[in-house]
Symmetry: C2
Subunit: 416 residues, 2 copies
């Protein structure tokens, strides 16, 4: 008789330390038993593809996701593959393939081949782009889920948007309305066909597919605010409650779950407030896109987003979705992918310094810097390649020349 | 009989609203009477050069300073002039000329000619570079001050470092020691000649020069931490108390004063803590360089610094000194000056959104974005030039193509 493999949650709840838990605990420098308990409690998940296992959640380093993929107006699969390589090379933890243009299955396969990292998809994208929202059925949506699950996708983003949330967004004071692509596709299916949310209506079936392959459920953030003005209205509060409820339900059924929230545009001082509110609703790892603390950093949203993500991760967000300089403007180029990724690795590191205190890397870098040891600084830099390219010749840098404070004070101290 | 012009403080204390106060109040959209009261109380200053007046302090928008200038190992005056033009073009509030290489007076004059912005200098740089620390006397230092004051410098940075602070830094646990260039030059003069701090010893004379020209005194931050590990030790605490004391003394004598502090490397969660502590010591506007919340963002210190500066200005810092991607590595190129400036304008805007709530620019940008109006988004962007270069053709962007959530939801709503 065929016996389904146990999910990480099911193993954790039986006290079994899986090989994935061992690998993640070793990478994080924590006890596997602690990780096992967090997974059993739904406070952490492991996203896996092949031999690559990434832990996300309580007690773990803040992780960074890179979005890539074609759109209907720009289909250059070779560029998306290059982005995947850049993401892995520069330290992304996971990749999300958001392709909606071209042969989506073929593109996903080339991305699979280009990187070992866990891959997330938003299955409604392929369903809507491949079949069209007008012809789509709930069966198609489930079939897409199944098809992608069998291919080895590590995590699915599903949007549990409801009629009530859509009405709340429309009847409220929002300027930007609904800005989530997957959420709007799901809403369009519901409104066009006067149908229920296919994921919520068939949630047990969805969970069965996810459990079968131990795919991480990521509950999407349809109602995220598209500008500072729109933050945390009734629609968002409703979605937070709904996602918390579904996360608890999925967890009880052995499906690892994370919740997307607090994303979009949120004023900096409110980010920790909303984070605490989320924690009152759910123990599930929190995934945030940005958030962006201002609207006006057009062309620099990776920098403004780095500020929001630093504050969010410092306040307890577990997993950051990067933004690139092209956010709101275009599909990012490979260079923009890299710029966005590094900015969010900086945010994750800042967040971790708040969560866990100073890192050994910062200490090692400071020690190298105090010796004017440029090689050491390069080795401990977040982006060693850029650091190497900018690092000066041995000795004081051209900023200081003969007046290097470190060198001058060292001489004076020796004369003391 | 020659009668010295009154300083802004002296006018404010007599209830006179100067033309500079009027100009600043109009630019800030506040009542001139409120500004006048803040200046009288030493909570705000006006930095002036010619017709350009910039207000810094309580109730005013957070300001951004751009550092530029030659070093002994890189003297390209034309590049420094280009940096000054870039700084003004992209919205810097003030410029600090830190030249230590070449003909410093001539370079300062070309920078004066290239920009209308207020100019700050660190006079010990010219004194030390021109005369040499070994030959320097307190009279030379005062003569440099006088010479630069007569030329029309808007603000001087003076380092009130003491023997006790130096000993505290050396005897403590610091990895990086003292990293302030001006502070280390001042310390080197003191230690080489077994002399008092020339600025503190002759403080009344210094204040007379500043009062004569209504130059803003900026009390430097010699003891700032050069890495996260070194933050807020006894040396820094001593300097904070000393600077607060000197600021109060200068204010009583009609000299507008700001204090540099909290600069260097400070863990993100401690920034608001230290800011509150500073406010217990002094009402003077606080000028921060960075701070950098991590050490490892080599080549990206403008981004890590943007996070620290956002948190600092949100917590009450009034004036930000930018960092460029070249920080710790080299003199910045003109492009790096621009990158650093924009990052810190983002930080100032984030800080102001925390201090004063949402800005009209954010609202206007959101309204343009909700209409997919790219021209409107460009007009309200922090860096319109970059936004224009990256903005797509009219219609949905290539990120979303046919699946623009904003357009899709609008169609659905109209069908409701």
């Amino acid at each position: 008789m065929y016996e389904r493999m146990k999910t990480q949650i099911e193993e954790a709840q039986e006290g079994i330390i899986s090989s994935q838990m061992k690998a993640v605990a070793a990478a994080e420098g924590i006890e596997a038993e602690d990780l096992c308990r967090s997974i059993a409690a739904g406070e952490a998940v492991i996203m896996t593809r092949g031999r690559c296992s990434i832990g996300i959640g309580r007690g773990l380093r803040t992780k960074v996701n890179v979005n890539l993929g074609t759109s209907t107006s720009r289909v250059h699969p070779e560029e998306e593959v290059e982005k995947a390589r850049i993401a892995e090379l520069h330290g992304a933890d996971t990749i999300t393939d958001l392709s909606t243009g071209g042969d989506i299955t073929a593109i996903r396969r080339t991305i699979f081949a280009a990187t070992a990292l866990p891959i997330t998809t938003v299955p409604i994208y392929q369903a809507a782009a491949g079949i069209g929202i007008g012809n789509l059925t709930a069966e198609d949506v489930l079939a897409t889920l199944k098809h992608q699950a069998e291919e080895g996708v590590s995590s699915f983003v599903l949007h549990a948007v409801s009629r009530e949330m859509i009405d709340a967004a429309w009847d409220g004071e929002r300027i930007m309305g609904v800005v989530s692509k997957g959420g709007s596709m799901t809403a369009a299916y519901m409104l066009t066909h006067d149908a229920e949310n296919p994921f919520v209506e068939h949630f047990d079936e969805v969970l069965a597919i996810l459990r079968e392959h131990d795919i991480v459920l990521s509950l999407g953030n349809t109602m995220r605010s598209g500008c500072i003005h729109d933050e945390m209205d009734e629609a968002q509060k409703g979605e937070m409650r709904q996602n918390a409820r579904l996360a608890a339900y999925a967890h009880e059924r052995g499906v690892q779950t994370i919740v997307e929230g607090l994303g979009g545009h949120v004023r900096a001082d409110r980010i920790p407030v909303y984070l605490r509110r989320y924690r009152e609703h759910s123990p599930a790892p929190l995934f945030v896109a940005g958030p962006l603390p201002i609207d006006t950093a057009v062309g620099y949203d990776h920098i403004a987003g780095c500020v929001g993500a630093s504050i969010a991760s410092g306040a307890g967000a577990d997993y950051l979705c990067y933004l690139t300089p092209a956010e709101h403007l275009s599909l990012p180029t490979p260079d923009q992918v890299r710029a966005g990724l590094i900015a969010f690795k900086i945010a994750a590191h800042i967040g971790d310094s708040i969560k866990y205190g100073m890192d050994d890397e910062d200490l090692a870098l400071a020690r190298s810097r105090s010796r004017l040891d440029w090689d050491g600084q390069v080795a401990h830099a977040i982006d060693p390649e850029t650091a190497r390219a900018l690092a000066p010749e041995p000795g004081p840098c051209t900023m200081c020349g003969d007046f290097c404070a470190v060198a001058l004070m060292k001489r004076l101290r020796e004369q003391r």
